[in-house]
């Protein structure tokens, strides 16, 4: 078991090194300093900035030092736009992202599994057909349209109809990032959350449900063709028990795998939702940094995202091995 884990870890190290290499190369194709300072910067300014950030050193040195800083969790380098240390920026950007992604993940997983189960249960009958049709319809509309329409109907129009503000069109309450706020005044915190975060969460859930429902339905349907199900039915086990006790348990393997794959999303967040709902999370910060050509943030964020993905891959592999003994013995 542990041999497997160690093997996976060792295997992923060159992968991570490769990612950092690719990212650093990609970001240096267009000289970052000139891109940031613009065309009117004097040669002196460019040189100054370059030296101060160490961009004049040979690439191998830069690569090595960046890796070292990542490994030692040294996030002291400062953003070019705001002069804040990148570590601080990350620290203040993660809570807003989590305010949105964690409820979104939990809701999507629960709802899609239930709908997938129902759909597989009534396979072929009208209920199933309607659900699958709705899922395909939902998948065919762009996420953007959901955001624009959601902002209009969910916030603007609804607020006018109700005469008050139920969902805010944009924005975020920074108090929600502080655990102290949740501890002391829970009702206010909840109200604030509903106002600012509920709409993006809702939109994200609706968009993701189309894909997830089809996947979970396919998984359940595939389970239902297995032999042990027909044995159980021949034995006279009730359909409900078959669904929830036998099928669901065995279908959990691919389900868990899929949920685990979406775990990094908790921290990386949804760039689009954060950008258009003005929530200062990780995705929005990254996009702003890219637009402002703020090199340190882009480099560190991307490296961080990649690290999270690798970690979640490893965790997925480990969990998979725990749940499915056949994998371990490979």
């Amino acid at each position: 078991m542990w041999a497997y884990v160690v093997r996976r870890l060792l295997y992923n190290i060159p992968v991570y090194l490769g990612i950092i290499l690719v990212v650093m190369l990609a970001l240096r194709v267009n000289d970052p300093v000139t891109a940031y300072l613009g065309k009117n910067a004097s040669q002196e300014q460019i040189e100054l900035k370059r030296v101060s950030f160490g961009l004049d050193r040979p690439f191998v040195e830069q690569y090595g030092s960046f890796l070292w800083r990542l490994v030692t969790f040294n996030f002291e380098e400062r953003s070019w736009e705001t002069e804040q240390p990148v570590g601080e920026i990350i620290g203040s950007a993660i809570p807003p992202t989590m305010m949105i992604t964690i409820p979104q993940l939990v809701l999507t997983a629960t709802l899609s599994i239930c709908v997938g189960l129902i759909s597989a249960f009534f396979r072929g009958r009208p209920a199933d057909k309607v659900l699958v049709f709705l899922a395909v319809l939902g998948m065919s509309i762009s996420y953007l349209v959901y955001i624009v329409m959601g902002q209009y109907f969910g916030a603007f129009w609804l607020n006018e109809k109700l005469g008050g503000e139920l969902f805010a069109i944009q924005g975020y309450d920074t108090r929600l990032s502080e655990p102290g706020f949740w501890a002391t005044s829970l009702p206010t915190a909840l109200h604030s959350w509903v106002t600012y975060c509920a709409l993006p969460v809702l939109i994200g859930v609706i968009v993701a449900m189309g894909y997830d429902t089809r996947f979970y339905r396919a998984v359940m349907v595939e389970e239902s063709t297995k032999d042990y199900i027909s044995t159980a039915m021949a034995k006279g086990v009730g359909k409900r028990r078959i669904m929830f006790v036998h099928m669901l348990k065995n279908a959990m393997i691919p389900i868990i795998t899929r949920v685990m794959i979406t775990l990094p999303f908790i921290i990386t967040g949804s760039i689009l939702a954060e950008y258009y709902f003005n929530i200062p999370g990780m995705g929005a910060t990254l996009l702003q940094a890219i637009n402002a050509k703020d090199f340190p943030i882009v480099q560190t964020f991307t490296a961080l995202f990649a690290a999270l993905f690798i970690i979640s891959n490893i965790l997925t592999d480990v969990l998979y091995a725990l749940v499915d003994p056949r994998v371990r013995l490979q």
Binding site: N12, P14, V15, Y16, G18, I19, V22, V23, A26, L27, V29, N30, T34, A35, V136, L137, M139, S140, I141, S142, Y143, L144, V145, V148, M149, Y152, F156, A218, E222, P264, F265, T268, I271, L272, Y275, L286, L287, I290, N291, K293, V298, T302, F305, A306, F309, I310, N313
Partner: protein, 624 residues
């Protein structure tokens, strides 16, 4: 060749696919989009050849020149025209007529300023200022006569507009009044509650508290707080946690802080009340004068101003004076003032009702005026007839966007962009990915490890982030804003899916008997790979092609929306249309976003159905 095709079309998978009716419909829809692309490309090519050879110039032609790239940027009519010839409210119709009026004014001024020496004629100017197929009436004299009638009609509208503005001001003031009265009531209640408490605490009379300066009170409060914090820190507990168990000094300090807090609150509330009373007084004054001038303007325009004039606004003026005086006299209970005879809420409410009514009547009047204006506009700018007229109506079928461009033309052209991006990306990605995956699985060894390392690396960065970073690479280069960064980003990221799938499938096929037989016969490894293995994975390649097509279209829309794809102003794409329509949605104009979504939805839905059908027919176990 024909025989092979026929054999393919009657194979089991394809037969199952053909029986799926919705899949055939989907295929038909996709075929339509492809035909559209071919049409656009053909006309563009012919037109660009025609630019060198005058005979083939397509840009003026109604049908052949409909979907040329420059037509996506050409103004067709006024801004934000609704589709299907639907009518809008009077104010929107006014905006449309105003557009034509402004155009006419500009043209007439240009005619007036013709330099006799330059040789330009009025007719040429009239022609030059036409909007797509709809232009001025030919004769300059007649045009000028019609224009002067239009001018008169718009003058009358100017008066109507000023009434509109006045009435809006009145309504705004009344709203402000209400809010301030509410706030004042709340402050009053707060003072009433705090006053006895603070008076007893400080041991003073109520009148003595009149002079409490909030700033001083706050300073004292700060000092007390600092003292408390210091003492608490010395005792080792948190300043907020001082309770019955703490030492007497600490408790006294905490008590003092609380009392000073209340005093500061009271002082602040008193000052706020003074300010609010003043504002309330001013608001009442304003309402009085505004409604008087509104009545005057209403009469000018011909509406009946009697209801406004019959309202007795004197009590309001009195209330204003009293309130302004009361602002200087603190602690006079406001309840008496607000509910009493001085302030007559009934008057302001009736004023609001009348203002709304008149607004409604005004909209009617404006509507009537617009009804008179529209025929004049139609005379000055006669609608084209015949085939050209028909094509012009077709262009207006889905309305115009905020720059007057035809939404239908832009939506259809965007379809071509989408198909182009999707097709090229999916093709390259599938071919490249499949070859790589098949080679990796078939040859094994270091090739396999290298390919797996490569795709693990690239897939470890979130998809969107990778696309964004890759597009970022092209910033500042002349290629920014064209489709090239999009292609580069997609082709570098999309090959991973097919690679994985084909690799998995090849691993399975490698162990099958016919491959072993071929090896035994002595065929070259590469030959076996190309001739036996890859054709047996081709069904998965089709499925992935379909999936990637959708992925490319959707990602292109998102990237363009984020500002990283096609720049606005060069052709059009669904992404730019959705991005530009975001502002329009707030103004309840849904035609642009609706059309873009509709065109995209139909295509993506067709592909989704196609993919499902392909999977059902060729890959029932859903390997991909």
């Amino acid at each position: 060749m024909v025989k092979r095709t026929r054999r393919f079309l009657s194979s089991r998978g394809v037969r199952k696919f053909r029986r799926n009716r919705s899949a055939m419909v989907a295929l038909g829809v996709i075929g339509l989009y492809f035909l559209l692309t071919v049409w656009i490309v053909a006309t563009t090519v012919v037109d660009s050849i025609g630019n060198k050879v005058d005979a083939l110039d397509l840009s003026g032609r109604p049908l052949l020149g409909l979907l040329l790239p420059e037509m996506t940027q050409a103004r067709v009519a006024s801004n934000e025209l609704p589709g299907f010839g639907l009518e809008q409210g009077p104010r929107k119709r006014l905006e449309h007529s105003r557009f034509w009026y402004d155009l006419a004014t500009k043209t007439m001024t240009a005619i007036d300023q013709i330099d006799p020496a330059s040789g330009t004629t009025p007719e040429s100017i009239l022609e030059a200022n036409a909007v797509d197929a709809r232009g001025f009436i030919a004769d300059p004299e007649e045009a000028r006569a019609i224009y002067s009638r239009l001018d008169e009609a718009f003058d009358r509208l100017g008066a109507l507009n000023s009434v509109d503005v006045k009435l809006a001001e009145v309504r705004g003031e009344i709203d402000r009044l209400r809010t301030q009265a509410e706030e004042l009531g709340e402050l009053d209640a707060k003072v009433a509650a705090l006053l006895p408490v603070v008076a007893s605490e400080q041991g003073l009379e109520a009148e003595d508290l009149l002079d409490a300066d909030p700033a001083d009170a706050r300073d004292e409060l700060e000092d007390a707080r600092t003292a408390l914090a210091a003492a608490a820190a010395a005792a080792g507990i948190d300043a907020d946690d001082v309770d019955a168990d703490a030492s007497p000094e600490l408790r006294e300090l905490a008590g003092r802080v609380a009392k000073l807090d209340r005093l500061a609150e009271l002082a602040q509330a008193r000052v706020d009340i003074e300010n609010r009373r003043e504002l309330l007084g001013f608001a009442l004054e304003d309402i009085g004068s505004l409604s008087a001038s509104a009545a005057g303007v209403i009469e000018e325009v011909g509406l009946d101003a009697a209801p406004i004039r019959s309202l007795d606004l004197d009590p309001m003026a009195e209330s204003a004076t009293v309130l302004l005086d009361a602002a200087l006299e603190p602690f006079t209970p406001l309840a008496e003032l607000v509910d009493g005879p001085l302030w007559d809420a009934a008057v302001t409410e009736s004023l609001l009702v009348i203002a709304r009514e008149k607004s409604g009547e005004l909209t009617g009047l404006i509507g009537g005026q617009v009804d008179r204006i529209e025929p004049i506009v139609a005379e000055l700018f006669p609608k084209p007839v015949g085939f050209e007229g028909f094509m012009y109506d077709v262009k207006l079928l889905l309305g115009t966007d905020n720059q007057g461009r035809s939404i239908l033309v832009r939506g259809l052209y965007a379809g071509k962009v989408a198909i182009q991006v999707g097709f090229l990306t999916a093709l390259v990605a599938v071919i490249f990915g499949s070859l790589l995956g098949a080679a990796a699985a078939f040859f094994g060894g270091w090739v396999d490890h290298a390919v797996i390392w490569l795709y693990s690396t690239l897939s470890s960065v979130p998809h969107l982030v990778l696309l964004v970073v890759l597009s970022f690479m092209f910033f500042g280069t002349p290629l920014q804003g064209t489709l090239v960064p999009l292609y580069a980003a997609f082709m570098l990221t999309f090959w991973i899916g097919p690679c994985r799938v084909i690799r998995g499938e090849t691993l399975k096929i490698k162990e099958l008997e016919y491959v072993q037989a071929a090896t035994a016969i002595g065929f070259d490894r590469l030959y076996i790979l190309v001739r036996h293995v890859i054709p047996n994975t081709s069904h998965l390649m089709f499925i992935n092609f379909s999936l990637l097509f959708i992925g490319a279209i959707k990602s292109e829309v998102i990237l363009t929306f984020l500002g990283l794809g096609l720049a606005a102003g060069t052709g059009s794409s669904w992404g730019t249309m959705i991005a530009q329509s975001k502002a329009q949605v707030a103004g309840e104009f849904f035609w642009q976003i609706g059309s873009a979504t509709f065109f995209m939805f139909v295509l993506v839905l067709a592909f989704n159905i196609l993919t499902d059908a392909l999977q059902d027919a060729f890959d029932p176990k859903h390997v991909s």
